[in-house]
Each structure stands twice: as structure tokens, then as C-alpha cells.
Symmetry: C2
Subunit: 190 residues, 2 copies
């Protein structure tokens, strides 16, 4: 298994800085769900804030509004099929829930009441900052990150390791559309 | 020179869907500026809306608030140094302006009163949707895209061409931090 370690909050935004697709998980009153969100961005360094666009039809959004919490997982190339699947199929009508139906493996992170997606490379535990106008008009949800973790084989000491040291299967996913992703192949210094 | 063609508005969001860094340009009353913004995301398909985080200290933000308009350019690997430079040096105190000082080449797009960055692979002309609370509290600026264009050697008929057909120098830039970028190297289907 990977060596999962906490990420200092001042470095948590870096997990999302490259614009990779994230998975959004939420839970409330015994129900849970997970979806993909290509539309996301960091908002601030410290306190770390992030944003994600969640369509009104999504079950995950309903759970976030009810619970006031969400968890972001940063998936990797090995999870491309999983990411496309959770991003296109709604858990609302899955009797056993989306995790069971789509065989999404999860694990518990310390202090987090939402199951984390196993095999991802980073995780950000967020408290929703309620902004009804923003949510209703633009579908933007804002979270303050109160804890973060990373797979230290990919992201360590507050930053992504050089790409040449990253196993190809653990590179981030950048969504082109229709389940088609590009993954990093080179690193350049500007 | 590249063959620059209009992008249908319903496909404009795709230019930004992979989370690449963009350049933000603005102009007002004879002044103009350009900066880099890794923190950006699409918000809606049609009408196409996009968002970008602009720090209160930026000169570009001041010009956007004054003019109500901005132009996003999607830079590519050949522009990594340019992107890092415009992203770290403020144009506020450059007597000749940032374009002249940093030798940023520009061209005119039809109907757009803001100079476009030459050599980019996509451009989105935006009208600011004024959201003072959002701007003041989170530095989020929202734009409605009213026209878009692409370099058809990279993005054509509403989508990015297969990565294998894209010249390496024209791949998108995904910011890790400190002017360090990853660029797409492989494409996977989920």
C-alpha cells in the first residue's frame, strides 16, 4: 500500500494547482455518494480554500448541503475508468449506493466522517462555506480545507515529486470531455 | 502562422476543461496588462461562463473592474517562460507597460478591444459579470464568453485534437508552482 501522510495546510492547494479532475465525496445520515468534477480550482493559500462546480441535479450536492462537509480525492491514471464511471452515473437511484454498485474501494482518514477513495494520490477534507447565491446562480461550492493527505510516492514535503519519479499509473487526470483525459508527460520550467 | 478560427460558443468551455493555466488580458483608457492565472475553471456550457481568481493587488483586476471586459488566452509549452514572467512581474510600475517590457507579442481579434497574446492556442473574449461579494471575498471573477477562437492545429471542430497530432511545443501548461509546469504526454480513455 502507499504511504499516506498529512499535507501541511499551507501546501494543500498545490494538490489541485495543475487543474486535475477531482472526485467529490459526501455523506449524510447513512447515505453517501461520490462524483467526478473537472471544474474545480484553489481559491486561497491559508486558510486553504477550494471551489468546485456541482450541478443542481447531483446527489452529492444534496448531501453536501445537508451535512456541510465534503472530501476531495485526486484520482490518477489507474483510476481513469472509475473516474469516468462515477462522473456519468448518478448514485441517486442506486439501491446499494454508488460505492457498492461501481465497486469504489474506500478507506477512513483520521477525523473524517466521509469515506476516502482508495488509490487516489491526494485528499482534501473540506467544510462547506455556505454561499447560497453563488451555489444557486453558478453552482460553485466553496470549501475550507481543514486537513489534507497525499500519497508520498507522488506528492511529498508539500509538492509533487518530479514527474520522472512518478509511476505513470499515478499521474493526474485532466479531462478533455467524454471520459477522455490527458495525463502529464513532461515537466518544463518557465 | 497558425490558422486561427472561431470556436462555437457551446464548445468554448472545452478550451479550459483540462485545467490549464491561462493568461488574462485587460485594457482600459489606453492602459493594458496581462497576467497568468493557474486558478481558473469553466462554470457553464451555454451561455458559456468561466471563472478566474485574481488577487486584489493585480493591475489586470483593476483594468477589468474599470472596463467590464477581459480576454483569456490559453498559452502553450513554447510560452512557458513568457507565462512565468507575466505571472510574477506586475505591470503596474512598468512605464512602457508589461507587453513592451516583457516583449509580449499581440494581435487583434475581430470585435475585441483587448490585444490577444500571439502564439497561444485558444482565446476566450469575456464580459465580466459583476459579483462584488464574490470578487471581494474570494477574488473570483466571472465572465460570460461571447466569442472564442482556437489554433486549428491544436483545437478544431470544438475539441482538442488527439495529443499524438499536437506539436509538443503547443501542449497546454499545468502549473505545479514556482514556474514549474507539467504538460500532457499521454491520452487515456476512461
Amino acid at each position: 500500500v502507499e504511504a499516506i501522510q498529512p499535507v501541511a495546510l499551507k501546501h494543500a492547494y498545490r494538490l489541485m494547482n495543475t487543474g486535475a479532475t477531482v472526485l467529490v465525496s459526501a455523506a449524510h445520515a447513512g447515505r453517501s455518494n461520490v462524483m467526478a468534477a473537472a471544474w474545480n480550482m484553489p481559491l486561497d493559500f491559508l486558510p486553504c480554500k477550494v471551489s468546485v462546480v456541482l450541478d443542481k441535479a447531483t446527489y452529492t450536492r444534496e448531501l453536501i448541503v445537508a451535512s456541510g462537509e465534503f472530501l476531495l480525492s485526486v484520482p490518477c491514471q489507474a483510476q481513469a475508468a472509475l473516474t469516468a464511471a462515477v462522473g456519468t452515473q448518478s448514485g441517486r437511484d442506486m439501491a446499494e449506493g454508488k460505492h457498492a454498485q461501481l465497486a469504489v474501494q474506500t478507506f477512513a482518514l483520521p477525523g473524517v466522517g466521509i469515506s476516502a477513495v482508495e488509490g487516489a494520490i491526494g485528499w482534501l477534507a473540506c467544510r462547506r462555506i455556505a454561499e447560497p447565491h453563488l451555489e444557486n446562480t453558478y453552482d460553485i461550492f466553496i470549501g475550507e480545507v481543514w486537513a489534507a493527505w497525499s500519497d508520498t510516492a507522488v506528492f511529498k514535503d508539500g509538492k509533487y515529486l518530479p514527474l520522472a519519479q512518478t509511476p505513470p499509473a499515478r499521474r493526474t487526470l485532466h479531462h478533455l470531455g467524454s471520459g477522455r483525459f490527458v495525463v502529464p508527460g513532461d515537466e518544463v520550467q518557465g
